[in-house]
């Protein structure tokens, strides 16, 4: 079956449009109906493994979850000082929130006013990742984080074996708030998950966002679109790790609405066997004096394929922007592949923008140095990998360690 037929069949298999995401469902379905699935002619998708992408359409979508007896994977204990939300298919996600001082659910009016606006303003043409989500999401987690929020927040999204899930999240971080957010995506055998997260960061907000995305079983795939809008004087730091997915696509899109904000991104993706992980980041400055510091690291081993596409847009109104982007890649096997494309688009003259990209291997001299001190090859390699990961990993909050991803990142690569 060709991809457009798959797409049409999938669309017709979806339940009727209903609920408060009805409007969004209609937008997503319409777009898919018009554009179908992308092909390698589409610049943003040209390196995509389309067979794996099609699995998002072939697995049954979990809509009404009552009948699904989900076997959730083991989830470590929650931290005392961190509020936890598990988006579990057995219930409306909003229901498992224990209301605390700093968090409230958005009311209908606020949802109506905000939902979909940020992702729409990213102006991505034929936005498949988003359309897939819009077409199939039936629940929404919409929260307001107030300035008196004291605790940190953890959102865990496990996949369900043999099924496909779509989750939609909207976070409004109110003026002056400070939040430490940790998100965890967990894969499962033969499953897909698609996330659409919108975060509105108001002025004087400091948001630290950790994202641990681990596909742990066979044939697990994930697509995540993260659209963030920053107001002036806000600070947004995103630390992400993607590992273990057969297919994963991460699309962080950040808009500095008024400039004058600071964005820090550190990402790591580690691939093995025949996995394909792609990060497509888009950062746009819509006002002056914005700052960006972005580091994307990738390690590709065995037969895997690691992709990074990073666009930075600095239009005329964004004078005095300072943006730096660096893509550093380790290619560890002759059968693996790395593609990286940092992009700069600038129409303002008084800016300081740089980007850089490197593709290399673990340094022989460093390895030799360790070996010459009596450390065996495997151990030496794991030390070097650890060193390589450290730049990204060390910025995660303490409570991230319980997810044990670092050991996994080293063990999986250094077999």
């Amino acid at each position: 079956m060709n991809s457009s037929a798959i797409c049409e069949e999938w669309l017709s298999s979806l339940p009727p449009m209903q609920g408060y995401l009805k409007k969004e469902q209609s937008i997503g379905r319409q777009s898919l109906f018009e554009h179908g699935m992308p092909s390698n002619k589409d610049e943003a998708w040209r390196l995509c493994n389309f067979n794996r992408l099609n699995s998002f359409l072939s697995l049954p979508i979990v809509i009404n979850n009552k009948n699904v007896s989900s076997k959730l994977k083991y989830i470590p204990e929650k931290d005392k000082d961190r509020e936890r939300i598990i988006i579990d298919p057995n219930g409306n996600p909003a229901k498992n929130i224990i209301p605390t001082n700093g968090i409230e659910q958005l009311n209908d009016r606020e949802i109506e006013e905000n939902l979909g606006k940020i992702v729409k303003s990213t102006n991505v043409k034929n936005d498949l990742s988003v359309s897939l989500n819009q077409a199939s999401s039936s629940e929404l987690l919409a929260l307001k984080v107030k300035s008196n929020m004291k605790e940190s927040l953890e959102i865990v999204i496990p996949s369900i074996e043999g099924n496909s899930i779509s989750t939609r999240i909207f976070l409004l971080i109110e003026e002056g708030a400070k939040l430490d957010l940790l998100q965890v995506f967990l894969g499962n055998t033969n499953s897909t998950q698609n996330h659409l997260i919108e975060i509105k960061v108001e002025s004087n907000v400091e948001l630290t966002h950790g994202l641990i995305s681990l596909g742990e079983e066979k044939k697990s795939s994930s697509i995540c679109t993260l659209a963030v809008q920053q107001s002036a004087n806000s600070k947004y730091s995103l630390n992400s790790i993607h590992h273990g997915w057969d297919y994963a696509r991460f699309e962080p899109r950040i808009i500095q609405k008024e400039g004058d904000a600071s964005t820090n991104i550190k990402g790591l993706q580690v691939t093995k066997s025949k996995e394909q992980i792609a990060t497509h980041s888009q950062i746009r400055f819509e006002g002056p004096n914005g700052k960006l510091d972005q580091l994307q690291k990738a390690v590709a081993s065995e037969y895997s394929h690691s992709i990074f596409n990073g666009s930075i847009e600095v239009p005329q109104k964004a004078q005095k922007t300072e943006a730096a982007q660096l893509s550093r890649n380790l290619l560890l096997s002759k059968r693996a592949k790395i593609d990286t494309k940092p992009e700069l688009e600038i129409v303002a003259d008084d800016v300081r923008c740089t980007h850089g990209a490197t593709v290399s291997q673990l340094q022989d001299e460093e390895l030799f140095y360790l070996l010459s001190r009596g450390i065996d090859n495997k151990h030496a390699n794991s030390l070097l990998l650890q060193g390589y990961y450290d730049e990204v990993v060390s910025d995660f909050p303490q409570s991230a360690w319980k997810w044990n991803f670092i050991e996994k990142l080293i063990k999986d690569i250094n077999k």
Partner: protein, 480 residues
């Protein structure tokens, strides 16, 4: 800011080569079909294999779509409204320069490329191409002593058909892209260079392309073959009169370097860029590619691109031979409504192949200046390395500078490094120069030259100063 405005004024200079030579021209009727191709081929007394080559290319072209991938919009060319062959009326090619129409010699004099024996450049052999045909080639005899062949491609087709048949279309296949296919079908003239084994070409070789007719497409074809252990440095220059319509220039350049051979190919491109409102100017859609077929061979592209309304150009190196080297040094200056989308492809196939990319883009006015490049390291290219540096300078807040480097590696024992930065002319630097008595205009020009110096250093001696002058010319003007 007033200072920015004046910098912009400095980079906006009237085009100095916009004159038209009034000369009787033989043109074939407008339009393109198989018969037109047969007519061109017949006019040039071409052998059968070449006519077949052209017709095959035409068949392919008909099946292809005009590209729109680069995000650049332009008013599409009406291919049936173009003249595919135009030549100044004179009998084929003259044996001696004395017989060439003095008007033509005068034209090239005016362009700073004197051809006559008394005035010609001392260490440079020149092939002068006017519209569709080569007018004259200087120093042919001297070059022949070394076994170097330097002539128009038409002459090469009749004199050395075996070389043409062996190499033409092997680097840029006829169906490589829309414009290469078109060129393969209708190319008119261009230059041919053959450097025999072990010969170091005794002088610089240079082709000078002049578009004179407004409705003529220029489709030149250049082929350079460097046999084992030979070397050559070649330069092309280009200008055109000012027309308010867009003239299409779709050239194909193929380079072949065998074992230990080295080819240095330099371009100073100053086609008419259109007026301040972006009306008119040349569409410069060219395909340039070199193959380092031999071990330790080297191909080095350097280019100074200042003209054309739109430039799409990616001089590339296919590094097949082990230990071969590819280089790309580029300066692209755009102003007003010019659009330049240029860069290179470095395809590493052989082991221990090395490539280096240095690109300097300067954008002023409302122009759009993009670097687009590909570095690809295949799984067999062990020990390969690439270093790329792409710097942009922006003048004024309406110009745009984009960088799109595609990087792809399948070989763990290889290294790729890419760096890009954006800057503008710093006020501190300007003030420092001015405070030493150097006027504003010269200070700007010095800073721009300084920005480009890494590339100037790569141009052949004879042309480095010419290129600097060309930038200076674009920068010349009164301080506002």
């Amino acid at each position: 800011m007033t200072q920015t405005n004046t910098v912009e004024e400095i980079v906006s200079q009237p085009y100095k080569y916009g004159f038209i030579t009034d000369i009787e021209t033989e043109k074939i009727p407008k339009g393109l079909n198989a018969d037109v191709i047969r007519l061109i081929s017949a006019k040039k007394n071409e052998p059968e294999f070449l006519l077949k080559f052209r017709l095959r290319a035409y068949e392919q072209w008909l099946k292809m779509n005009e590209p729109d991938w680069s995000g650049l919009t332009y008013s599409k060319v009406d291919y049936q409204d173009l003249v595919y062959y135009a030549a100044p009326k004179q009998d084929v090619k003259k044996k001696s320069l004395d017989e060439v129409d003095p008007k033509l010699l005068e034209t090239f004099d005016k362009l700073g490329i004197p051809l006559s024996e008394q005035k010609r450049l001392t260490n440079v052999a020149v092939d002068a191409v006017f519209d569709s045909v080569s007018i004259a080639t200087t120093y042919k005899e001297k070059l022949a002593e070394y076994g170097v062949i330097f002539c128009s491609i038409s002459e090469a087709i009749s004199e050395y058909p075996h070389l043409i048949e062996k190499y033409m279309g092997t680097v840029v296949p006829i169906n490589d892209n829309f414009f290469a296919a078109l060129n393969s079908a209708v190319f008119s003239d261009g230059s041919f260079v053959y450097i025999p084994k072990g010969v170091e070409c005794p002088m610089e070789l240079s082709s000078y392309f002049r578009i004179n007719s407004g409705d003529t497409g220029q489709f030149e074809r250049t082929l350079i073959i460097a046999e084992e252990s030979s070397s050559v440095s070649y330069l092309e220059g280009c200008t055109a009169p000012m027309f308010d319509t867009n003239t299409l220039h779709a050239a194909v350049v193929e380079l072949v370097a065998l074992d230990n051979a080295s080819i240095k190919y330099s371009t100073v491109q100053n086609w008419y860029a259109g007026n301040e409102e972006g009306v008119g100017g040349i569409y410069n859609f060219v395909t340039k590619r070199g193959e380092c077929r031999g071990k330790k061979s080297k191909i080095s592209w350097s280019q100074v691109e200042t003209g054309s309304a739109i430039t799409w150009k990616y001089p590339s190196c296919v590094l097949q031979g082990d230990n071969s080297i590819g280089e790309f040094y580029s300066i692209a200056l755009t102003n007003n409504h010019q659009k330049a989308d240029t860069g290179t492809k470095m395809i590493h196939i052989g082991k221990n192949t090395k490539s280096k990319i240095v690109s300097k883009g300067i954008s002023a006015g409302k122009s759009k200046n993009s670097y687009r490049g590909l570095v690809s390291i295949s799984s067999n290219a062990e020990g390969s390395r690439n270093y790329s540096q792409c710097d942009s300078m922006l003048i004024g807040d309406k110009a745009s500078a984009n960088t799109y480097p595609y990087i792809q590696s399948k070989q763990p024992q290889s290294n790729i490094e890419h760096e890009a930065s954006t800057c503008r002319i710093s006020e501190d630097q300007l003030f420092y120069l001015q405070s030493r008595g150097i006027d504003f205009e010269e200070s700007v020009s010095m800073l721009i030259s300084g920005f480009c110096t890494d590339v100037f250093n790569e141009l052949p001696m004879e042309f480095a100063s010419e290129a600097d002058k060309l930038l200076a010319l674009k920068l010349e003007g009164s301080v506002g």
